[in-house]
């Protein structure tokens, strides 16, 4: 399913979108597949599929550790792309947004990368270390492969740059709501709401709020204040990291978490700015 279709669907149901972020292969591939299935079955509308990188400079401690474990376990970008194929075969049909750092596509070659991931079943790309200024080439090849490049906007993004980002945006925009890196926070910033309003005034592209969302109430606050959905980052990894020997034992808790997040995304009208 393409991203746009997913948002049309959700819109028609009056729901916000929920997208969890996982690093594929942490702590092993089998678990990742089970994890993703669980997330999708329990409410994930889309999947942020992380390709582990050795130096994830935009990630916090939980995801740094996740990348390290996955790489130690032998995960590679090629095996990740293979993993997307497996997921599709296994019936996972939500849009998959592949996330990785720019060096991975850079080394594979942008053309080959975009083509290969598209063929495997990927709908969009998030490259956290690729700002709009550096993305011409990727945009060109992504367009060729009919794949979306998801950009971020932040409270610190200037109007001038916001203009540029908005005009290149497709799929959705990733609204970074804290001046920080991924990591579960206990409260949200006032500024996020202002940011959502500011971006909304300039584009109809869906807005997904991310960074630091780890509770239903965070999600509800976001969707109630103009977000088209939320992304949870390390929250899920935090749950299974508590039991890395038998992570499958945490799937039930993760299912509950996903369901709660999705539920919150549906409640946009019941909640208000927190």
């Amino acid at each position: 399913m393409e991203i746009e279709e997913k948002f049309r669907q959700l819109k028609s149901r009056g729901e916000g979108a929920y997208m969890p972020h996982v690093y594929y292969g942490d702590p092993n591939e089998e678990f990742s597949i089970e994890l993703i299935k669980t997330l999708v079955e329990n409410g994930a509308d889309m999947l942020e599929f992380g390709v582990p990188f050795s130096d994830p400079i935009a990630d916090g401690p939980t995801f740094i550790a996740a990348c390290e474990r996955a790489l130690r376990g032998g995960m590679t970008p090629t095996r990740c792309i293979e993993g997307v194929r497996k997921l599709r075969k296994a019936g996972v049909d939500v849009p998959i947004i592949l996330t990785t750092y720019y060096n991975i596509p850079y080394v594979m070659g942008l053309e080959k990368f975009t083509k290969t991931v598209k063929e495997a079943g990927v709908q969009g790309l998030i490259i956290p270390d690729l700002p709009i200024e550096e993305s011409d080439e990727l945009l060109r090849f992504a367009e060729k492969s009919n794949i979306r490049v998801i950009f971020q906007v932040a409270p610190t993004t200037s109007d001038e740059r916001l203009e540029k980002i908005v005009s290149a945006a497709s799929g959705f925009l990733y609204v970074v709501n804290v001046e920080g890196v991924t990591g579960a926070r206990e409260s949200l910033l006032e500024s996020t709401v202002n940011l959502l309003k500011k971006v909304r005034a300039r584009t109809d592209v869906p807005l997904m709020a991310g960074f630091g969302i780890s509770k239903g109430e965070h999600a509800a606050a976001m969707v109630s204040n103009g977000a088209d959905g939320v992304i949870t980052g390390s929250a899920v990894a935090k749950i299974y990291s508590k039991n890395l020997k038998s992570p499958e034992k945490t799937l039930q808790e993760i299912a509950k978490f996903a369901a709660e997040m999705k539920q919150a995304c549906k409640e946009r009208n019941k909640s208000s700015t927190s």
């Binding site: 990188f53 050795s54 130096d55 994830p56 400079i57 935009a58 990630d59 916090g60 401690p61 740094i64 390290e68 790489l71 590679t76 970008p77 090629t78 750092y101 720019y102 060096n103 991975i104 850079y106 080394v107 594979m108 956290p128 270390d129 690729l130 700002p131 200024e133 550096e134 950009f151 971020q152 906007v153 932040a154 610190t156 993004t157 200037s158 740059r161 970074v176 001046e179 920080g180 890196v181």
Partner: protein, 389 residues
Amino acid sequence: MKGRFGKFGGRYVSEVLMHALIELEEAFEKFYPTDDFRQELDGLFRDYGGRPTPLYRAKKISELVGCKVYLKREDLLCGGSHKLNNSLGQALLAKRMGKTRLITETAAGQHGISAAMAANVVGLDVEVFMGVKDIERQASNVKRIKLLGAKVTPVETGMGVLKDAVSDTLREWATCTRDTHYLMGSTVGPHPFPEIVATFQSVIGKELKAQIMEMEGRLPDAVVACGSGGSNAVGAFRPFVSERDVRLYFVEGGGERLDADNSAAAFSLGKPGVLHGAAMQIMQDEHGQIKPSKTRAAGLNYPGRGPEISHLCDSGRVKPCHAFDKDVFEAVRVMSEKEGLIPALETAHAIAYVLNNGKEFERDEVVVINYSGRGDKDLETIVRYFYGD
């Protein structure tokens, strides 16, 4: 294009850092050209740092090599290496920008020291991120940094080495750009860092050029510098890049031997990639995962080569080369016994290359080694190498 050196450079950072880089770029363009800034910086260079550093004709080394060898004495800069040039410049810039705090990372500790010094002189707080492994290896410099009142934050992510410290400092910066400046320690990172660092370091090359013209009445035939990020090399090379007759040599850490797990020779073993915000020459596996580098010289232990030196080597203007650990230690011995100077292990790479490649230099050629730092910080390592425990 601004911030680009051929196919290298750029600004590959997450959105939350972009405004800080733009702010920094603007501030640099605004303040650096002013007389006020230059005067204050030149004053600190001279009175605090000890600039100009001398150009010393190393007679004994000259005899050994069979040409005229000069040493550009950055070891005499306050703090013991070229690092202060950059730290003073950036600290001053941060102060002008209204920042109250510096963060930075360090491997050998030299940059951490110079950052702490500069922060104190200018009046800023400072926090230094350092890989746990480097903290262990560079114990005495850690003490120096703490004594200078800086906070040292151990970095446990990754391998606990420089590249991880850079990553963590970037992460930290993303949370505090409003009041904090990231004092990048070498000509690496996203634009404008490589340009800023090279600008502040090019005082080396400017002095060197004037000094050699005075002493020899002509340009040198070759300039040799060690490096990883490339700041001392680019600083020394810049004024000579357009002088096509001046050969430029960049000596990286060969480590034990030329294979990716035992070396830091990114020009021999790496390929272009993107790391820490810039496209550059990097040691990495076939998938693009960064490889840890390995050399006994902590300051060369970085898998990437800054954009400018990457381009200079890629374009053929600079000859990339390397020296192996054992030749490096031998160079330390020779320099100590012949000229009475104990070089930093990093610096000793440049010396080793010249000592071992005398054939490249003809009898009346003038060769300048950028003598980037003194070996005090490496004394334990050096002594253990020669005399055992």
